[in-house]
């Protein structure tokens, strides 16, 4: 187990190294010039050149990347070009909000998705099943900014049940979580449905029924733990999809998380922030997957980590 963990952490470090290299290279190739953004339109060529040298952006790619990397291993994400602040500080300040949103969204999608999937599987072929699957299809295909705006309009503007935007209370959390969660719940309900249908066909379910167990017990004690196994791995992967969604949803709801930070940075070519947010997201994805893999053996005794 310890050996497994160490091996996985080494792998994680290598993945992050790869991500940093690729992202840094892509940003290096970017036609937009960050120095122009910093210097402003009226700056002289000399000023621009000075800033460029000051930031080290006149150096070849290898040197720039090496500098960034040596800072990184010491925990230094660099300074924002425009916000006059350490990137680490900026991200650190906004991370809790994003993590909270993520937790809210995961709860939403699991609650909605798994329930829909289980109900659909148990009533396979019925009207209930079909309408649930149509709902999930809409959930999967609707763009998040549309869902977000729609929810805002109905529940915040018209009904006034929830605030229009901002951060602070549980009520602020509901609509953004739901917006993010609806997409995931569409996926989960479909996966859960097919997983559950598959499990309900298994011989051990027949055995459980032959023992004379009540239907409820057969479903919740025998079918559910088996059906949920493939879903767990999915949650790990899901965090990656979240990171994409978070940029949109945080902007729509004015949620002060790293998605918003990234959005601002992208608009202003603030490379250190973009790098920082990308690396933190990559870190979250890698850790999420690791966590999912670590949890699985507790539910499935057949899986041993080595």
């Amino acid at each position: 187990m310890a050996a497994y963990l160490i091996r996985r952490l080494i792998q994680a470090a290598l993945i992050l190294l790869g991500v940093s290299l690729v992202t840094f290279f892509l940003l290096y190739l970017l036609p937009a010039d960050p120095v122009r953004q910093i210097a402003g339109r009226s700056a002289t060529a000399q000023t621009v050149q000075n800033i460029r040298e000051q930031l080290g952006l006149d150096q070849p790619f290898v040197v720039q990347y090496w500098r960034y990397l040596s800072g990184l291993v010491q925990g230094d994400f660099g300074r924002s070009y425009l916000q006059k602040s350490e990137v680490a500080v900026l991200i650190w300040a906004r991370l809790p909000a994003s993590l909270l949103l993520m937790a809210g969204a995961i709860s939403c999608e699991l609650l909605l998705g798994l329930t829909m999937g289980i109900v659909a599987a148990l009533r396979r072929g019925s009207m209930t099943d079909q309408s649930l699957m149509i709902t999930s299809f809409i959930g999967v295909s609707a763009p998040q900014f549309v869902v977000g705006l729609l929810l805002l309009y109905v529940f915040a503007v018209r009904l006034g049940w929830f605030p229009i935007g901002g951060y602070g209370t549980f009520r602020h959390l509901v609509l953004p979580s739901l917006t993010l969660g609806i997409l995931g719940s569409g996926w989960y309900s479909r996966m859960m449905r097919s997983s559950m249908i598959d499990v309900l066909r298994q011989d051990y379910i027949r055995t459980a029924r032959a023992k004379g167990l009540a239907r409820r017990r057969v479903i919740f004690r025998h079918a559910l733990p088996n059906a949920i196994l493939p879903i767990i791995a999915m949650i790990g992967i899901d965090i990656g999809i979240f990171m994409g969604g978070i940029v949109v949803v945080e902007s729509v709801f004015g949620w002060p998380g790293i998605g918003q930070l990234a959005w601002q940075a992208i608009q202003r070519v603030d490379i250190p922030i973009i790098m920082g947010v990308t690396l933190v997201s990559a870190c979250a994805i890698v850790l999420g997957n690791l966590l999912a893999d670590l949890v699985t053996p507790f539910i499935d005794p057949r899986i041993r980590l080595r």
Binding site: D203, T207, R209, A210, G212, P301
Partner: protein, 593 residues
């Protein structure tokens, strides 16, 4: 013990002599687009206390549907009871509400299933699965339930019962899992135990133990057993009475002795005639032409690595095949027998060039080791395989004609028109008609599908066909015909077979020479007459003695109850098993010391 069972069953217990379960005019139908289609029609029988009734028949005869109907477990909503009655004592079961049926299931009528590997919940401990069954029907504390579970496990003679409570299904072998299933079924001392093909998925020696166990439990508890099986040997050993079913109807019903010795119906006669029997090997072993063998194995060894530790180093090897020497002559049927995990399929894969091996394999004089891709491909023309499950080995989206032609396409033989003609001839030869070439695999029966697989194997005119459990999944009557076909093809095309099987009776009927494999090594090898007439190695004897004999009058020689699991072929690196040196005890009969 019998007293307890009787008093507990309460009102439903009929006076002595009256049947515990009666089925009257049972009809089960499936709803299709064309209306109701009967799966079981007008079936009637009665089951007395302490009696074993076998329901025998081939696949599709409705025997399993019958058992599910009694349990109230027919798959809803398509399949349901459309006529007749099932009485447990005085309780009518077919119209019983689900809640009441639940209290009967597992309690008064229990069931064990064919597939012990998949019939237990993989994520729940054995102990929990047992106690849960007990707690579903009786109000008792955790500790009491655990004690009951433990005594049930002890009753099924499982080794280390306390330890098993904490284990999970994947940690147990097939035989142990089936014991757990039986423990679960008998824990509440049901009036009726339905055993649906309880030993079909088990090795023959394990089958013997499980059958002995069922018989002993019945004697001790007075449980009535409905034994559902396709194996007439099992029927003969276990049943007091037999119901023979065909296409959902009962064709014959009577005492076991009468059904076996004086069958009344043509179907029963045909069924019994098709059963392969020991001691009836057909004709003399083929006279083998001299000359170079088709396949020559020397010191064949296949090991699989198991990795562990921080760096993922190899810590253990699975010694699947450990030093096998054998020759297969032209035109001979060489049978390789042994129980699951003995390495027989791995040996076959190595010969087909499908796994890496050490040692030497020569096919038709060419060594397989160190060949390039193209050479291996060319060599594969000489070795073809037929597998156990014909449905799984035919691509469901391809027409069967194309499937048979595919080896020709791969090896670039003939143009399209000539291939078509060749495939048509092959179809004809294996007993199918050439206009069936344009159909898909699902449109054929199991036996027909296996014929298609045989045609595919024949397409390249190989010198050796490896038949890995190729008839094991077929009904006996179909099995007999496929074996006949294989025998005829052998003579016609001078093919040699490596015939891999766990079924000693089938092997005795088809093999010229036999090798017995145990833990990756051959323990005995010789002609059919030598192996079956004069088995020397204790393991060979055990295998032969364990085969159920399709004759109710057969008296089994008393033997020590061998318990136990085959040891694991997994060993730590550096711990190599001792190679057995086979000794010739006369005219090529080789035996391990």
């Amino acid at each position: 013990m019998t007293n307890a069972a009787i008093s507990r069953s309460g009102a439903a217990t009929a006076p002595d002599g009256a049947p515990v379960l009666t089925v009257q005019g049972l009809t089960v139908s499936v709803k299709t687009e064309d209306g109701l289609l009967p799966l079981v029609s007008d079936l009637s029988f009665a089951l007395a206390r302490g009696e074993t009734l076998a329901i025998a028949g081939e696949s599709g005869s409705g025997k399993s549907i019958t058992s599910l109907a009694i349990m109230g477990l027919l798959p809803p909503p398509a399949v349901r009871v459309t006529g007749g009655q099932i009485h447990l004592g005085t309780t009518e079961l077919t119209g019983l509400p689900e809640a009441q049926m639940q209290s009967i299931r597992g309690n008064r009528i229990a069931m064990i299933f064919q597939e012990p590997m998949t019939s237990l919940n993989p994520v729940m401990s054995i102990g929990r699965q047992l106690t849960e069954a007990i707690e579903a029907h009786e109000v008792l504390s955790r500790t009491e339930a655990r004690t009951r579970a433990l005594s049930a496990l002890t009753a099924v003679r499982i080794s280390q019962p306390e330890r098993r409570l904490h284990q999970y299904p994947h940690e147990l072998s097939g035989g142990m899992r089936q014991r757990v299933m039986i423990a679960m079924a008998i824990a509440l001392r049901p009036d009726v135990l339905i055993a649906d093909e309880p030993t079909t998925a088990l090795d023959v020696t394990v089958q013997r133990e499980v059958l002995d166990l069922l018989r002993d439990l019945q004697r001790d508890m007075g449980t009535a057993i409905i034994l559902i099986t396709h194996d007439m040997g099992v029927v003969a050993e276990m049943a007091d009475r037999v119901v023979v079913m065909q296409s959902g109807r009962m064709v014959e019903h009577g005492a076991a002795g009468a059904v076996f010795h004086a069958p009344q119906q043509p179907y029963t006669k045909a069924l019994l005639a098709a059963v392969p029997r020991m001691g009836r090997g057909v004709g003399a072993a083929a006279v083998l032409p001299g000359g170079a063998p088709v396949a020559r194995l020397r010191g064949l060894q296949v090991r699989f690595d198991l990795r562990g530790g921080l760096l993922g180093r190899v810590t253990h090897h699975v010694h699947a095949v450990e030093g096998v020497d054998l020759d297969i002559q032209r035109g001979e049927t060489f049978a390789l027998v042994g129980e699951s995990g003995c390495g027989k399929s791995t040996l076959a894969k190595a010969m087909a060039g499908l796994v890496k091996f050490d040692g030497q394999i020569e096919i038709d004089g060419t060594s397989l080791a160190g060949l390039g891709r193209a050479q291996i491909k060319a060599l594969r023309r000489n070795v073809q395989m037929i597998f156990q499950d014909p449905m799984a080995s035919l691509d469901p989206r391809m027409r069967v004609g194309d499937l048979v032609a595919e080896p020709l396409v791969i090896h670039g033989i003939d143009d399209h028109a000539r291939r078509e003609a060749r495939v048509a001839a092959l179809f004809d030869r294996v007993g199918l008609s050439s206009d069936q070439m344009y159909r898909y695999p699902h449109e054929f029966s199991g036996g027909q599908r296996q014929r298609i697989c045989i045609a595919r194997a024949l397409a390249l005119q190989p010198k050796l066909i490896i038949a890995d459990e190729s008839v094991s999944a077929l009904d006996v009557s179909v099995q007999a015909r496929v074996l006949d076909l294989l025998r005829a093809l052998k003579q016609e095309f001078a093919i040699a077979y490596l015939f891999i099987s766990h079924d000693m009776a089938v092997v005795e009927n088809i093999a010229d020479r036999v090798a017995v494999m145990y833990l990756g090594q051959i323990v005995e090898m010789g002609s059919r007459a030598q192996i079956f007439g004069n088995p020397q190695h204790p393991y060979t004897r055990r295998l032969i003695e364990a085969v159920p004999v399709p004759d109710p009058g057969h008296i089994r020689p008393p033997q020590s109850r061998f318990s136990g699991e085959v040891p694991s072929p997994m060993r730590a690196v550096g711990d190599t098993p001792q190679r057995l040196a086979l000794q010739d005890i006369g005219s090529g009969h080789l035996v391990a010391p």
